[in-house]
Symmetry: C2
Subunit: 349 residues, 2 copies
DNA sequence: CCCGAACTCTGGATCGTTCCAATCCTAGTG
DNA sequence: CACTAGGATTGGAACGATCCAGAGTTCGGG
């Protein structure tokens, strides 16, 4: 590994294809082939060209390549602000996996922002200026106007999140099975001996919230438990959860809580502390998303963890199929979350 | 606001400058001027061209523009994985501010990744392929090989983080005054009546950790307090912090803790809980970075919050100066963090 | 009425790459 | 030995924008 023989200093001109061609005594096209179709060259020629490329430290100019091939190798992602006080660890972990995975095939992630009141803002511009090859659409929590828009425009994209309201949507998507997550959480508490297990979730308008809630409900039904009065809807806020947990805990038969978020789960832990109840031993609590907060809160909050790394890998895989106009094996794909068990739900701590 | 008159459907060809020129009955150059130097056109012509642009839904092809002007309007950022269990909320908040700020001047953020063992990985490639206009370098916690490398290459960049080990570095940087943060945290606890205030920080090799520690130290000295035996170095881990807090709390005169991170602060809260000490009332605790965990942990962890929005704004401002080869007003710029007071440090709760 | 300056607008060249069609070379065949 | 098939290589054109130099138009002043 020797350093490329580039000139040090300000404003150096990077070598071009023509430079390399001259230096190697071949035509521009041959250099291009050395990079894109190496098997077209005679082995000796290939090696000669490659050594010049190495020596000059040549990388093809992305703009020129993009102009000619109409492919930027960029994946657009609209980056929404994580609300303060909600678990943003999710996006962080997902984003890194995406960047990492995409880079393995020479793609980069382009972040853009848009007017929070207009979920379509930003997409159109990038599309018309052919700045990105494709989009990853992530914030499908409240309907999916972006997906509808992009589908209509014929733009390549994959959604992280199922098309809740458009059962006949025709685009590719990946999602995590929130109902399954809540189900295994509930089953875990049942296995720990809890019977009357409450649900703390979001308002009815949240599709993700409804999905998760259904998992709790089905697990309870399967166990022959009545859920009446046990399912509660509130905003994603520690103190709200704490209050509601207090109300529920007035009934001493209630000993388990499955929550739609870690924030809510932590609220329940606070209520336990207020009442001198020991989490794990007296009361079982499970949160959702496995945020930093779940990991550091005393005594450790059991939580449902989304397989974001896997989501990223699948997204990129599907994206390549879409870009190659290949048949997609399955329009939608559901991945399963896993339970990370901590002391808030273990009787035998 | 009417919808642009574009054809709906798959694989539509976006209009080009030439299309617009034909349609408006002017030359390509005139259309180009309408976009980039509108004041060169006669008002009527300008309006005519603009209406055609509007009607066709034209946006200049980024690749072509980038090729000609040698400017991609992309800012490169190497996106490091947040270690699991450490406060990654920081990056999330910062990144969003950066994307938002950059977009105001038509710039986008390009994320890339690289071999974790090689801090330079990824930069060179983007530089040689002229894929980005400039870089934002963020992870300057352990020396700044990237800055040295980029400076040597004459690449435009701004660092978030001061050049710890190179006092004569010549690049622009923005940083947050960690010493000041620790100082106001310590002063706050002193004002609450605490005298013997401990420091929980990282190992000596962490420059950021050392900087923050110095703020604690100077505030203590200014108050005439002896810090011997009160400054502790450990890894960024809840349980480690809890153990060390227990050791320190064996001395009943120790009633305050300033920590280099929220994770450590939460460890101290756990130790308090173990000993039946009431945070705020009996023991004052302050963390660092104002993560989600600080916000939701009982009883609310006072924390030092970095002005990341402001950091982003300044970074982008300086970046524009650098790109325009303008004189930079100040090589480095230090921003002040603020204390977010919660119940873990308030006696009058 | 002519001239030049200022204002508008135009057409060709160019950025660095890949596409395309043609040419050169080599070896195998009749 | 001519002829051809196929592999290896080449030069010109094109992608869609901006740069540059020059041409056409308008207008005021001598």
């Amino acid at each position: 590994m020797t350093q490329p023989d580039v000139q040090r200093g300000r404003h150096q001109v990077p070598p071009t294809l023509a430079t390399v061609a001259d230096e190697a005594g071949v035509s521009r096209q041959t250099v291009s082939n050395a990079l894109n179709n190496p098997d077209l060259l005679r082995p000796e020629t290939l090696e000669r060209v490659q050594s010049v490329i190495e020596r000059l430290g040549y990388s093809p100019n992305r703009a020129a390549r993009q102009l000619r091939t109409r492919s930027s190798h960029l994946i657009g992602l609209r980056f929404e602000p994580a609300q303060e006080g909600t678990s943003n660890a999710l996006m962080d972990r997902f984003l890194h996996s995406l960047v990492e995975t995409a880079s393995r095939t020479g793609h980069h992630v382009l972040l853009f922002s848009g007017d929070p009141d207009n979920p379509l803002d930003g997409y159109d511009d990038l599309l018309r200026s052919t700045a990105v090859d494709a989009f990853v659409v992530t914030d499908t929590y409240a309907g999916t106007p972006q997906s509808v828009f992009l589908e209509e425009r014929g733009a390549p994209f994959v959604a992280f999140g199922r098309p809740w309201d458009e059962p006949d949507a025709d685009h590719a998507w990946i999602d995590v099975d929130g109902a399954h997550g809540a189900r295994i959480a509930t089953e875990h508490l049942l296995a720990e001996g809890h019977r009357r297990i409450a649900w703390l979730g979001w308002e009815r308008s949240s599709r993700i919230g409804q999905d998760r809630r259904s998992g709790w409900q089905s697990a309870m039904h399967a166990a022959g438990e009545d859920v009446r009065g046990l399912g509660v809807r509130l905003t994603d806020n520690v103190d709200a959860a704490r209050m509601r947990a207090h109300e529920l805990l007035q009934d001493p038969s209630v000993t388990g809580f499955v929550c739609a978020s870690d924030t809510l789960g932590i609220g329940v832990l606070h209520a336990c502390a207020d009442r001198g109840l020991r989490p794990g031993t007296d009361i079982g609590v499970v949160g959702f998303d496995d945020s930093l907060a779940a990991q550091v809160t005393w005594p450790g909050l059991t939580s449902v963890r989304q397989p974001l790394e896997q989501v990223a890998v699948e997204l990129v895989r599907i994206l390549h199929l879409v870009l190659a106009h290949k048949q997609i094996d399955t329009k939608g794909q559901m991945l399963q979350p896993a339970l990370v068990v901590r002391r808030s739900s273990q009787r035998s701590g």
